[in-house]
């Protein structure tokens, strides 16, 4: 009967705990009346309390239930079974003790039994719980008095302050109660131990000791450690062990796994890829040197007064050099490795690869000179190169498209690995957008703006992002040495990216005079982008699952991980920026600049570096020093954060000043410290590129360190041949 009562009480309490906040919530809503939007804060608080209470009550419910069950079992007399279980689980030393005691007992008498009583701790526990009741009624009262004033900040703060002790009280209650329950459980365990001891004492000697003794020998069994090897000394007859370090020393730089030696790839192809990487690294260094200088100009506008170096001319030099020079060449270089590899065949034409390289380099060199000389296409971002220059780029990319499709056409695998979907699609789309952006037929007046929005966003999303995803789909699983988590998620991401991304270009011109419906489509598309981004991120993260420990031992995986994190955060930030409400204070400010660096740098650059550090040692057999790779990684990451976070804060404030109608020049003054931080972050990023360039050089450089063994051997050979001659 007693037990029944307890469980009934527990259920009642549970119900009260669960529903009390709910009833208060209902009260709030009915009393507050009209200002619904201002209630969100209250609602959130109420939900928090509700959740905490729910978790607390569930926790207590299960604890109580467990105990009640235990008591019930005891009543039903399951104890003997339980004791037998204990007996089976004794370890060797315990058995030994028992056996010893049994031995002694042979000469001695019997032990007595102790009576058992059911403690009423449970009642205490629940009474305690009910003493906390006033806490809840207090809460109810505050809920009642605050009615009608929810929109007032002071009231909200007050309620929050009241909530804190209540929540703390609930937490305290859980802790106390669970302590009490534990004490009770311990006491019961002690009682049980008493009984068990009695039980042990009553065991009849012969059969029990025999089984126990048998059990003891079984537990004491141990291998002697030479069952397989026998008595022979270990000898590495097949040369499986190499690079033996006999002396231990402190590692100042964490020792990471070395790149594995791979089947040699065609030296001709290898040379081509190396050239792509080399040119890419050059353009990164060049482009970001320009970028760094531009960042300085925000702080020191009179750093120079030369027309070729003025801000308006250099800005597109920076963006175009890192876009078409660095990122594009880097991607294509990795593409030349990946496309034939996953097709299990040779590249269709190495010659075409060289032509592409020459054409793109020519485009960036000419484009840069034209821009600095003041010849540009008219100011649309990333469309500043005039058409003859962009034609060179497009021609190069078309050659590579043909090259890749021919390679895939003669593939030796049945399926087309998903990397090739992404890579080929990216190239097709890049050509499409370039053609659409440079054909003049639809570019008069506002037509230019509509095309511009489409072009600039497809440029980043369909060329850089899609291509880079293709790279990740191959190199990430390969570096983790496990298959990609889900092929179908990759396919989903592929098609949804095409579907949604194509629509979102005009979100760069929200509130401008382009058609309202087109802006709305772009915003909806931006929200749709959540699907491919989530699918992609999930896929990559789940591929890491169970292999997280590999990050610590690899110098490429950290780059991949950072890329994945920014892929998620940067892309979703893009969605958030597209809304009309956020456009009010973010559009036209440096927030866009911060966003483009979070994505183009955080995603694209980190993935490209990861790829190059993974692929280049396979081509040359040489790795870069770990310390400089580490320096590159950390400087780039910290620099990026220093660059973007202050810029985001400053530009949000600036947007708000505009909304408040403050004089424009005040918003310029306000930005000064944030621009300084940007320049500092930019300097760190730039420094990291010096390390990157050095690493590339180390991976390419032919002058190896002298291998004493090799040289000694050569000398020996020389000597012996000389000796032979003398003989």
């Amino acid at each position: 009967m007693k037990v029944r009562f307890h469980s009934w009480l527990a259920k009642l309490l549970l119900a009260i705990i669960c529903f009390f906040p709910l009833t208060i919530l209902a009260q709030e809503q009915s009393q507050a009346g009209t200002p619904v939007s201002n209630q969100t804060g209250i609602l959130v608080l109420a939900i928090i309390v509700l959740l905490v209470s729910l978790v607390a009550s569930l926790f207590l419910f299960f604890r109580a239930k467990k105990m009640v069950e235990k008591i019930r079992n005891k009543k039903n007399g399951d104890t003997i079974q339980q004791f037998e279980k204990y007996l089976q689980n004794l370890d060797s030393s315990q058995i030994e003790k028992i056996l010893q005691i049994k031995q002694k007992e042979k000469n001695e008498g019997k032990a007595a039994e102790s009576p058992s009583t059911i403690k009423s701790v449970l009642i205490v526990a629940f009474t305690f719980l009910s003493t906390l009741f006033p806490g809840h009624s207090l809460f109810a009262q505050t809920g009642g008095t605050k009615s009608g004033l929810f929109s007032e900040g002071g009231i909200i703060i007050t309620i929050t302050l009241i909530m804190i002790p209540i929540l703390a009280g609930i937490v305290l209650m859980i802790v106390k109660l669970s302590n009490m329950l534990r004490k009770h459980t311990n006491r019961q365990a002690l009682e049980e131990a008493d009984k068990f001891a009695t039980y042990l004492a009553t065991l009849t000697d012969e059969e029990a000791t025999a089984t126990l003794a048998q059990r003891k020998t079984a537990l004491d069994f141990a291998l002697i450690n030479n069952e397989l090897s026998g008595e022979q000394m270990p000898v590495d007859k097949k040369g499986l062990v190499s690079n033996i370090e006999t002396e231990g020393y402190i590692n100042f730089v964490a020792r990471k796994k070395k790149a594995q030696k791979r089947p040699n790839i065609d030296p001709q192809l290898s040379k081509l890829i190396i050239w792509y990487f080399g040119c890419a690294a050059f353009w990164l260094l060049f482009g970001t040197t320009v970028g760094e200088y531009l960042g300085i100009k925000f702080v020191a506008p009179d750093a120079d007064q030369i027309s070729w170096l003025s801000f308006g001319r250099l800005r597109p030099v920076h963006t175009n050099a890192v876009f078409w020079g660095w990122a594009s060449l880097g991607m294509l270089g990795l593409g030349f490795y990946i496309v034939p590899t996953v097709s299990n065949t040779a590249l269709a034409s190495i010659k075409k690869g060289w032509y592409t390289l020459i054409l793109i380099n020519a485009a960036v060199i000419l484009g840069t000179i034209f821009l600095m000389a003041g010849i540009n296409n008219g100011g649309g971002e990333y469309r500043e190169y005039i058409w003859p220059v962009m034609f060179l780029f497009a021609a190069g990319v078309i050659l590579t498209l043909v090259n890749f499709i021919q390679t895939i056409a003669k593939r030796k695998t049945k399926e087309i690995y998903i990397s090739n979907w992404y890579i080929v699609a990216a190239i097709m789309f890049a050509i499409t957008i370039t053609v659409v952006a440079y054909i003049p037929n639809w570019q008069n007046g506002l037509g230019e703006t509509i095309i511009q929005g489409y072009y600039m966003h497809q440029g980043v999303g369909m060329w850089f992002m899609l291509f880079t995803l293709g790279i990740v789909y191959y190199l990430l699983p390969q570096q983790l040495n496990r298959p990609i988590y889900s092929y179908s998620l990759g396919i989903l991401a592929f098609w949804t990216q095409i579907l949604f991304y194509t629509l979102i270009g005009t979100h760069h011109f929200v509130f401008s005079s382009i058609p309202w419906w087109l802006q709305t489509v772009a915003i909806v598309g931006s929200v749709g982008m959540v699907i491919p981004v989530l699918a992609g991120t999930t896929n990559f993260i789940m591929t890491f699952k169970g292999a997280w420990h590999k990050i610590a031992g690899s110098y490429t995986l950290p780059f991949f991980l950072v890329g994945i994190i920014f892929y998620f955060t940067g892309s979703l930030q893009g969605t958030a920026e597209a809304f009309r409400s956020t456009n009010l204070f973010w559009h036209f400010t440096d927030f866009t600049v911060a966003h483009s660096h979070l994505t183009m740098y955080g995603i694209i650059c980190f993935f490209l570096w990861a790829g190059m550090y993974a692929v280049l040692p396979r081509l040359t057999g040489r790795e870069a020093p770990q310390i400089t790779i580490g320096a590159h990684f950390w400087l780039a990451l910290i620099g990026l954060l220093f660059y973007t976070i202050p810029l985001m804060i400053g530009s949000t404030l600036r947007g708000q000043m505009w909304m408040q109608g403050k004089p424009f020049i005040e918003s310029v003054v306000q930005m000064a410290p944030y621009w300084l931080w940007r320049a500092i972050g930019g300097s760190l990023m730039w420094l990291s590129h010096i390390f990157f360039a050095y690493n590339i050089y180390k991976m390419l450089s032919k002058n190896e360190t002298i291998d004493v063994k090799e040289v000694a051997l050569a000398k020996l050979v020389q000597q012996t041949t000389a000796n032979e001659k003398i003989d």
């Binding site: 506008p301 570019q443 109608g661």
Partner: protein, 333 residues
């Protein structure tokens, strides 16, 4: 699946999906817009000098920091009297064989919007000084200086346009800074940037996301408008934060008889309709009319000017200023 293993089918599908969407969201809307929008009847085509000036504007990448679009939201009201409409851009065609159409709408507002700069800052003298080095007139500016649009002459001829550059910006040279044709063309372009009035009877599109006036309205009734902020926004770039103007270009307001005197009619007339009576200084545009300042705002500016930098004149009331504004408006017509 057979489809996924056939590169022709796979890649053609992806391409067609992308190309189809491209046509729908980019090409067709673009074609539609260029077909259906004509320039406003009141729109003036660019002069020959302004066309050349626009090319200078494009070449130097001014669009990197300056937008030319008034969005249909309340916060953009400072950049024009009405939101931009497609017709505002309809006259802009391909620049030449090599270069694309330049609507120059921009995506970044590091500097101010220039849609209506021809109205809000029409002064050639100010623009020339500002171009030579923006920090001469706006100390906090981070805009680049454009000295290559100017030449240095020891003895300028009569036809040369001399720029009033203060001594400390001449680096000890003796002579004058003279504007080149490029600089004058660029300013001709800037001066041509004016929002065209909508034809009579055409309703202007609304500014959305209005600032909440309810709380503000009650505050303004009891408190004066912030004259200092209005001064910064409308007057400071010429007359400077210290009210001392710029020798040879913009007259001082500190100790000025117009500012501290009793001839309010002249004072208000200058603010509303501009002034060019003194040859030693540049001409002033009708700042008040261009910026559509209200009587309350003009009063706030006047009171700020009459009581700052050591000026110590009696404050004026909104009522008397309102009367004078109505009067000088009639005079201007």
């Amino acid at each position: 699946m057979e489809f996924f293993n056939n590169h022709k089918k796979l890649f053609w599908t992806a391409f067609l999906l992308f190309a189809g969407l491209t046509v729908l969201v980019a090409i067709l809307p673009a074609l539609n817009n260029q077909k259906n929008n004509k320039p406003l009847p009141g729109a003036e085509p660019l002069s020959a000098a302004a066309v050349k000036g626009k090319n200078i504007y494009i070449a130097n990448g001014c669009v990197a920091c300056h937008t030319q679009q008034v969005r249909n939201i309340d916060m953009d009201k400072v950049w024009g009297s009405r939101p931009g409409i497609p017709a505002d851009y309809a006259a802009i065609k391909r620049t030449d064989l090599w270069r694309n159409t330049a609507t120059l709408m921009g995506t970044e507002r590091t500097g101010p919007d220039l849609t209506d700069i021809g109205n809000s800052q029409p002064s050639r003298d100010w623009n020339l000084v500002h171009l030579y080095n923006p920090r001469i007139v706006v100390k906090e500016s981070i805009m680049p200086a454009y000295p290559w649009l100017f030449t240095f002459k020891k003895e300028p001829s009569k036809n040369d346009v001399i720029v009033n550059v203060p001594k400390e910006y001449l680096n000890g040279r003796e002579g004058k800074i003279v504007a080149t044709k490029d600089a004058l063309n660029l300013i001709a372009y800037l001066q041509s940037l004016k929002q065209t009035k909508l034809p009579d009877g055409t309703p202007s599109p609304e500014f959305l996301y209005k600032r909440k006036q309810a709380a503000l309205g009650t505050a303004t009734k009891t408190k004066e408008l912030d004259g200092a902020a209005l001064y910064i926004a409308n007057c400071q770039s010429c007359h400077q934060p210290n009210g001392e103007g710029l020798a040879g270009a913009f007259p001082p307001l500190k100790g000025s008889p117009v500012v501290t005197g009793d001839n309010l009619e002249l004072y208000v007339d200058i603010i509303m309709n501009g002034y060019d009576a003194r040859p030693e200084y540049g001409a002033m545009a009708g700042v008040g009319t261009n910026a559509n300042l209200s009587a309350a705002e003009v009063t706030a500016i006047i009171n700020y000017e009459r009581t700052s930098w050591g000026n110590n004149a009696k404050k004026v009331t909104e009522e008397e200023i309102k009367k004078i504004i109505d009067f000088v408006k009639l005079k201007a017509q």
